[in-house]
Symmetry: C2
Subunit: 137 residues, 2 copies
């Protein structure tokens, strides 16, 4: 995946740098939703001197390109989702863990008269739950 992601960065007029490569690799092949700090830690395994500011800006670029999804569902920190095809999320309100929900149910559409003049881009269903670990403690 990351090769084509880097290609796409290029198509969008971004330069290919070691830092962007490291962030792309950090996001490659994972199916959990990392926080910016976790992405930074993984990228730092590949490129130890990468700075937090660079990771943040690269994540913003990828979000803007639509290559990843920025989730601000619960907790203090945003999480980044490499799966951009429409899907829903199951969130533990107490620890912030997020699971993808793959069942094919699409979020119901929003009637135009409810849109408050806003341009709706996507809809998702968020299931608020408590995970086993948090239930036990």
């Amino acid at each position: 995946m990351h090769t084509s992601l880097l290609d796409r960065l290029r198509l969008h007029g971004y330069r290919l740098t070691a830092q962007r490569r490291a962030v792309a690799e950090a996001l490659d092949g994972i199916n959990v939703h990392l926080t910016a700090d976790e992405v930074h830690a993984r990228a730092a395994d590949i490129l130890p001197e990468i700075s937090r500011a660079t990771v943040y800006s690269t994540l913003h670029e990828l979000t803007e390109m639509g290559e990843i999804l920025e989730l601000g569902i619960e907790g203090r920190s945003k999480r980044y989702d490499p799966t951009t095809s429409p899907h829903n999320h199951l969130v533990c309100d107490s620890c912030g863990v997020i699971h993808d929900v793959q069942h094919g149910v699409a979020a119901p559409e929003l009637p135009l008269n409810e849109a408050h003049g806003m341009a709706v881009r996507r809809a998702e269903v968020v299931y608020h739950a408590t995970c086993g670990t948090c239930l036990a403690s």
Copy 2:
């Protein structure tokens, strides 16, 4: 509303203090979703010396009681929703403004085999959009 809300605080074993009254009044009769800081500002109009820490702890108590909803949908700060009956949200991803969506569409239910062992409490549909103000700028 706030009278009964205070009654319910009492029923839950909480004491009635001027500070809790002020927070309850700050949330009373509004239909926008305030951030903790905005709640603090409104409460401070009623009780100028109320501290941030108190507002935060009162908001947590009310959330725990189920009297208000804590929303962490987008942006850096949580917002508090005095409407606890099931409804959906329309969010501007760029400025964080949240509108309630009143149309009667319920979020689809989550199949048990998708629940990852988590106890699902509620589901909501979140519509991600850009508001008129942000579109213009």
